[in-house]
Structure formats: structure tokens, C-alpha cells
Amino acid sequence: MTDFISSTANPTEPDVLVERTSGGFFDHLIYVLRGNPITLIAFGMFAILVIAAIFGPLLAPYDPAVSNVSIALQAPSWQHWFGTDNLGRDVFSRVLIATRLDLLISVAAVALSFVIGSMLGAIAGYWGGWLDSILNRLFDTIMAFPLFVLAMGIVAALGNTVENIVYATAVINIPFYARLVRAEVNIRRDAGFALAAKLAGNSDIRVLAFHIYPNALPPMMVQVSLNLGWAILNAAGLSFIGLGVRPPTAEWGIMVAEGANFIVSGEWWLAVFPGLALMFAVFTFNLLGDGLRDLVDPRRRT
């Protein structure tokens, strides 16, 4: 018994364990990637998105804000790969530059709901009782709304800004994270390793944060990836109906909305290219999420 306690309290022991499992993890990673090349493609697509988000302004061939009415509404050509819009702005440059804003909105929203959802879920799962009941009722209430509609209501109430789009998207995602963490924490609350850590003199918060919570991280990563795609769709949908991002800012949802006015007269490139970019991003995150799920949970492989 003394041996057991000293080994769990000894900080070097878990390190050895982590190293051993991470070596196994990389073997496993290579094994899964070999079996499922689509995940590899998804990582490649993700890299393209990240590069576009970071270096977009450097790579864009034209200034996305400069309008030139003499070249308005030109079809795609070698000069303007994605054509020009009604003000003569280069659609390719605008689509490229919008990557950063769209990714920022969704990453910020998902990060917020990840952090808040983790804390609330961990509290509800570890201490239980009335706190658990109240938090559960709260999540039930949020989920009782059609989520996109609730996001609309929140943005309308808080004011029509980009930050509020982030907050609204975060709020509607919190229940998913919180429930996941709650379940993962709850089943390990009285597990042997948690009790041992507590006997070794760790405080409740420490046990929760460093011993129990990390077990919830793998399924959380899958959720994050699937959620990122959904958050992008959500944010683009909100700006499509005129919330949050305002013209002339380049953002995929609003570009599709502006381009929609020209679709009935045949100028398809205004709406189609930003729409395709949006699909590409969502598709990437969904593929990535499926791949990550294979990685962390082999039983649920499809």
C-alpha cells in the first residue's frame, strides 16, 4: 500500500508512463493512417486551411478591398481566377483572405465552449448533487431551443457584432462539451486511481483537474474537430442573414449572401466560390473528426 501511494505521488512515474503510451500512440497513429488514407488527406486539407489563414494576405494577388468598376462582374479568367464581383473586386483574393476571419470566429467560439463546458461539466460530474441538477436543467433549456434560432436571438439581444457571434456560437455548443465531460468525470469519480490520488493528499480540485479530467480529453478532441465545422457553418449562416460581419468585410457567409443576388442573372462565381471554400473547410473538419475518432476509439470505427 505504501508503495502504491508513493508511486502515484511520485511525479517521475507518470512521466515514464506518458512516454511509453505516447510511443505507442505514434505507432498507433501510423497504423491508423496507413489503414485510412482519408485521414491523411484530411490533415493535408487542414494544412491548406491553416496556410491560407496565416499567409492569406501575403498570397492574395489583389487587394481584396480595392474596387474597380470598369472590371466589374467578369467571369473567371487567368487574371482573376474566381472572377470579379459587382464592384470589380477580385473574388479569389477575398475568398483567400476571408479564411482567417472564418477560422478565427469558429476557433474562438469552440475554444470558449470547450473551456466553459469542461469546467461546468467537471463540476457537475465530480460534485453532483444540486449543482448537477441545476446545471443539467440549464443545458436542457439551451438544447430545448433550435440551436441556430437561439444563436439568432442571442446576437439580436447582445448586439450585432462579430464578438457576439462568437459568444452566441459558444453558448449553443457548451451543453455538448459539458455533457461529455460530465459523463467521463462521473464514471471515474470513485475509480481506484482517483481515490488513491486523494489519499496521497491531493485536493479535490487537483484530483479533478490533473487525474480525472485528462481522461476526457480524447473524446473531447473528436468533438472539437466535428464542432469546428459546425461552428463555421453556424457563423456563416448568421452572417448570411445579416448578423455579425458587415460588408465590405470579406467573410464567406456574407459573400455568398451578396453573390446570391446575382445568381438569377447567371453570375454564379460570386456566390459559388466562397460557398465552395466554406464547404471545403467544413468537410475538412468533419473528415478530421472521423479520423480522430478512429484514432482514439477503435470500437466506433465506421
Binding site: 433550435p146 442573414i241 442573372s265 447567371g266
Partner: protein, 342 residues
Amino acid sequence: MMPGRLKTILLRISQSIPVLIGVVIVSFVLTRALPGDPAVYFAGAAADENSIAEVRAQLGLDKSLPEQFLVYVSDLMRGNLGQSLSTGQPVTQDLAQRLPASLELTLIALILSCSIAIPLGILAATRPGSWIDHLCRVLVTAGVSMPTFFTGIVLIYIFYYLLGIAPSPLGRLDFIYIEPDRVTGFYLIDAAIAGDLETWWGAAKQLILPSITLALFTLAPLARMTRASMLSALSSDFIRTARSAGLTEGSIRYTYAFRNALLPVITTLGMVFSFTLGANVLVEKVFAWPGIGSYAVEALVVSDYAAVQGFVLAMALLFVGLNLIIDLTYTAIDPRIGFASR
């Protein structure tokens, strides 16, 4: 037997009450969190301190928050959601007038997507690895990545602009037709009641593209869930027993496996309905559909908050009601279900 089931049903209905209370509280909080002062807004541009205070008292905004909440709830009880700034009518009346348009679209889309997704899921599950399984997988992955508003625009471009076979994407009925007399508000039903086939076809034509757009969006989760639950049902012990007892493949599939696979599919249907109500807003904007979604979008543009909050509340109530119906259908499909454990 019957009293037990009745008890289950009553229990389930009582369980939706806390959620309803929560929904009302959230919508109250959203109403009070509005940027700016509604009293200033309602008093108009030429208002001075006194008239603003007067309007504030008139609106009940000078009372404490709990008092305001009671007033809000009692207004709700009487079906009063306030006055819309843009139409000048009570919000309840506006919503009631536009709701059938949204419901008609949503229901047709859901029927369409169920009638494709469920057979597709079953076929994919019974023939794993076949082309139909791959088709199912491609549809599922592509479907969840398609922004609804984008699908709608692409469909308009192909079928209206390029092929010219779809009517112009503006509203529920082309102006050459006369609106059918309002009985239910559903144009297809009203036109059928009036026996006006031409108008019926006109309304159906307008419905095709928007409902396909919505259906494509909802296809993916339904097909995915049907396939997964059908696969797990088919690999379970009772199916093996049924096979060894020499039942025909058809009766194994549809009488035994499908019935058991249906439950998770119906759960998914509830979630899908939530997505559809949200996506409705976008599709209605794309197709200029005069439903409650486009009403809310118009209200958002002119900061008509009473209308927006009324819309959010109406949607939530609709969704809570639908979830209740779905849970009650469970008891009809699967008598083993009880709600006491939740």
C-alpha cells in the same frame, strides 16, 4: 396495461414543464438584455425626458425585474408577444399568419428526406461494401458539409437559370395564380380543398426546390443513423435466432430488425427537426419564402426586437412540443420504454 401506459405518458408530459419554464426564462432574459432602451425606441425621435419616462411606465419597464417577469408571463399566457415595430401588428398575429408557410415547407422536406434516407440506410446496412453503401457514405459526408443556403443557391442556378425548369424562386406562389382561400394556410391542402388543380400544381412547383434544399441537409444524419442502428440490429442475437428458426430474409429484415432499429432513428429525427427549424430561416431567405424565418430576418434587419423574441420563443415551444410527441411515439413503438429512469 393501459393505466401503466397512461402514467408513463403523464409523467413524460410533466417532465417537459421545467424545460418550458426554462425556455420562458431564457426568452425573458433575451428580451431584457436588448442593447439600448426600448422606451427611447418606442417614444420616437422627438421624445423628451418626460415622454420617455411616460412610455417606460406604460411599457412597465420602471418596475423591478421579478415584477416585469410576472407581467411578461401573464402576457404570454394571454398569447401577447408584444407589437411588431415594422408591421404594426401584434407579433402573435404575424407569426400565426406566417407559420403555415414554414410548416408546409418543413414537413414536406422532412417527409422527402425520410423517404429517401431510411430506405437508403436500410439498403446500405443490408449490403455492406456494395455501391449503395458507398453512395450512402458519400451522401452522408457531403450532406453534413453543405451549408443549406449554399445548396439552395446552387439549385436555383442549375434549375432556374441554366435549365429553366424551375419557377422563379420568389415566394410560395407565382403571381399568375390566385391564392387559395385560407382554410389551413397550407397552400397544397387549401388548393386541394378548393379543387383547384392548377393552383395546387403552381404551389407544388414553388415548393420543390426549397424542400429539396432542406431535405438534402437533413438526409445525412438520418441515413447515417438508420444505417448504424440497422447494422447493430442485424448483428444481434435475436436476429441470429430468427435466422436459425428459418424465417424468410424479408421478415427478418423488416419485422424484426427494422422495428428495433427504428428507435434511434426517431431520436435522431428530433435532433434533425431542430436543425431544420434553424436551416428553415436560411432557406426562407434564399427562396424569399414568406414564413416565420424570413419574418425574423426582416425583423432583425430593422431591430424589431419584439418580433425576433417572439419568433425565438415560438420556435422553442414548437420544438419542445415536437420532442414531447416524439417521446410519446416511443411508447407506441416500443412498450418497454418508461420515463421514470430519466
